[in-house]
């Protein structure tokens, strides 16, 4: 992929946002670099930040490789991204309120009823309920890729509980500790207010019945979960309790947590648990992770749940295709950020096209995540392509296909120096009383030469992401 956009070098010249990094790399001999790399790794281990991002599973004590070469956006680039991300987060929430309410977008024929109402993530039990401030998805993680100076595409939206934000914060922490000079030389916008903004966002959606400073908690599936570190990290930064289902109970009209001083009422639950496990009375009866009776309290306005149950219907890969339509329908605006053109294998004509061009396309499972159940046509063997052909034919509705994008690269430290590697970006947009976005996100990098898969379970690493003040 020689033709792909290098974010640092354009036709031999250094692009302005990276201007001060050139000298930095030149002044760093290999020994120093190795020393710094070892130091960074030791710091990560020390903090205990060993977990898999994006629910990929795997060894909970595994460390995700950290690449010290930062990824940089100019202020102008970011301003556009920010507008686009906020626009998207707003439209996705408007969509959720609508499809659990009157369903205007379906009635108007702008999205097929089947895709919404027969979707496994569409939660019948919350129909007719508007969560506080009309927000279903309080943290929207928008996965972006870049293919040129001005070409950004949204790969997917994450409306439930996007993970990885602890990496965004820790990467910055570690960079500032190891290379303070870089932060003196470059004017980099800070991101450390994220946790306070998240707390404020959560507190802003407390239920109407809450007549005091709301008590916010994070609900984790438990310490065996691969993202447990992130849950405890966020709880610590926000100064809120990290609870498991067993710490909470329902009594009367409210939810309480079990404390050493007796029951204490909880107003807002930031859950890092799927809908199916939230309440054994409402969803999976065998779930030991949730809180019995929680949904009745939620529906009667005794507690807020973030993200709201049912939010998942907005980030389904088949619904994704219609996000630009949502933006037009609810906001009356044109999308600032484009979708990747997507073929729905569930449609006969599109499926035919996909099967004919399989070797050029990326194929994804509608409900898959973590880079599994995915085919990257140009990088796959003929046998792999044929295997996918059979799978698509057997269950076309379960697959979508997209062109193989020439993902941008940024310089990355590799064994023998610095080389371009493909990257993506996940910013975290907060939606409560207002819409808020810290200038940055998590950059994932495919560390293997030529690889387009940035997932940590498949050889991906992470980078600090800078947004310059001007």
């Amino acid at each position: 992929m020689t033709s792909c956009f290098n974010e640092m070098y354009l036709q031999g010249a250094v692009r302005p946002p990276y201007a001060r990094l050139e000298g930095w790399t030149r002044a760093m001999p290999a020994e120093l670099r190795q020393m710094k790399q070892a130091e960074a790794e030791a710091l990560f281990r020390r903090i205990g930040i060993t977990f898999a991002v994006y629910g990929e599973g795997g060894d909970p004590d595994r460390l995700i490789p950290f690449d010290m070469f930062p990824r940089v956006f100019s202020h102008a680039e970011w301003t556009r991204l920010e507008r686009g991300i906020k626009q998207r987060a707003q439209a996705l929430n408007a969509f959720l309120v609508d499809v659990y309410g009157r369903g205007e977008i379906v009635r108007a024929g702008r999205i097929p009823a089947r895709l919404v109402y027969q979707n496994a993530a569409y939660e019948k039990s919350v129909v007719g309920f508007v969560p506080p401030k009309g927000v279903y998805s309080h943290i929207v993680g928008v996965d972006l890729v870049r293919t040129g100076p001005d070409e950004f595409f949204v790969l997917e939206d994450n409306c439930r509980t996007p993970s990885g934000v602890s990496y965004m914060l820790e990467n910055r922490e570690i960079m500032m500790r190891m290379f303070p000079d870089l932060f003196r030389e470059n004017r980099i916008l800070p991101i450390d207010s994220y946790s306070e903004r998240l707390r404020r966002t959560l507190a802003s959606v407390a239920p109407a019945k809450c007549d005091r400073e709301p008590t916010v908690v994070i609900l984790t599936p438990g310490h065996f979960n691969s993202a447990y570190y992130e849950h405890s990290f966020l709880a610590d930064l926000m100064g809120v309790e990290l609870v498991e289902g067993q710490d909470l109970f329902v009594e009367g009209e409210y939810v309480y947590m079990r404390t050493t001083e007796g029951p204490r009422r909880v107003d807002v639950i930031y859950r890092r648990l799927d809908d199916a496990y939230l309440d054994p009375l409402c969803f999976r009866p065998d779930s030991m992770l949730g809180v019995a009776g929680l949904m009745d309290v939620y529906r009667s306005g005794g507690v807020s749940i973030c993200s709201a149950p049912g939010a998942g219907v907005a980030d389904d890969k088949a619904v994704y295709t219609y996000v630009p339509e949502m933006i037009r329908f609810y906001l009356g605006e044109e999308p600032i950020l484009n979708n990747v053109p997507t073929w729905q294998c569930g449609r006969d004509d599109e499926c035919r096209y996909v099967l004919e061009h399989l070797a050029e396309l990326v194929v994804k499972e509608v409900h898959g995540s973590g880079g599994y159940g995915m085919l990257v046509g140009p990088k796959s063997s003929a046998a792999e392509v044929e295997m996918f052909r059979a799978r698509i034919k057997a269950n076309p509705g379960n697959y979508i296909a997209q062109p193989t994008l020439a993902l941008s690269t940024t310089p990355t430290f590799v064994a023998d120096g610095i080389a371009p590697r493909h990257v993506d970006l996940r910013p975290y947009c907060l939606v409560g009383e207002s819409i808020d976005l810290v200038p940055g996100g998590l950059t994932r990098v495919a560390l293997t030469d030529g690889s387009l898969v940035v997932n940590s379970s498949q050889g991906g690493g992470v980078k600090d992401t800078w947004v310059l003040a001007e």
Partner: protein, 269 residues
Amino acid sequence: MLLSVDHVTRYRYDTPARSVVQSHRLTPSRFDGQRLLDWEVSVSGGLAGGAFRDGAGDWVQGWSVPGPVSEISVTVRGRLETTDLSGVLRGHREAVPPECYLRSTTPTQADQALADLAAQCVTASGGLETAHRLSAAVADAIVYRPGTTHAHTTAAESLAGGEGVCQDHAHAVLAMARHLGMPARYVSGYLHASEDGTLHEAAHAWAEVWVAGLGWVGFDPANRCCPDERYIRLGSGLDAQDAAPIRGIARGPGVESMDVTVAVQSVQQ
């Protein structure tokens, strides 16, 4: 018809239970066929929790019993006036789109036999007639016989066994209707069983099928009819578990046992 209900469910715990939590759908639906005169649900030692009307139009009420308790009784008592609407759920306010009821669940998954049986019921004369045939086909294929199936029997299993109770009948209708692309749902309620030939099950369940132009229409294969003034509708769902009038859980190592008494009587005016 003026009906009275007296329904008591007793839960016993062999070791005292704490934090018993329940979610009830024990209040009759509001539609043109039912008019509530008086109705009361109580839970011994219980605290009433949040209550709300859900998107399907059901009245949901949460309860909690802090405990520790060895026994809990849930008592439902009330009177209502019913009218025969030939099964049509007229005047029922709800927000859940019918398409939601096309989704199949574990007990309502159509296997080949259910699909074949459903295909035989398709008729050119429209959805209502098809639904009637589905109900009749189920009544013929699954003989009413208590004790042959259990709470987790699937529609496919009861059809294969040829026997079942009202829950199995309803599940079979749902599986077949959804297979044909007709939204269908499970309804739980009570039945006043006085006429000869009526099955003596006061706590009852049946199916509703969405018929274009009419809306939701009830079908009771167990009694080969559509719900009339003898029926009291409580709530609906995708299957028996989803539509259960009482869902509950208790904290503690103990084993729970349950017994239920239901009486639905016609009140002399």
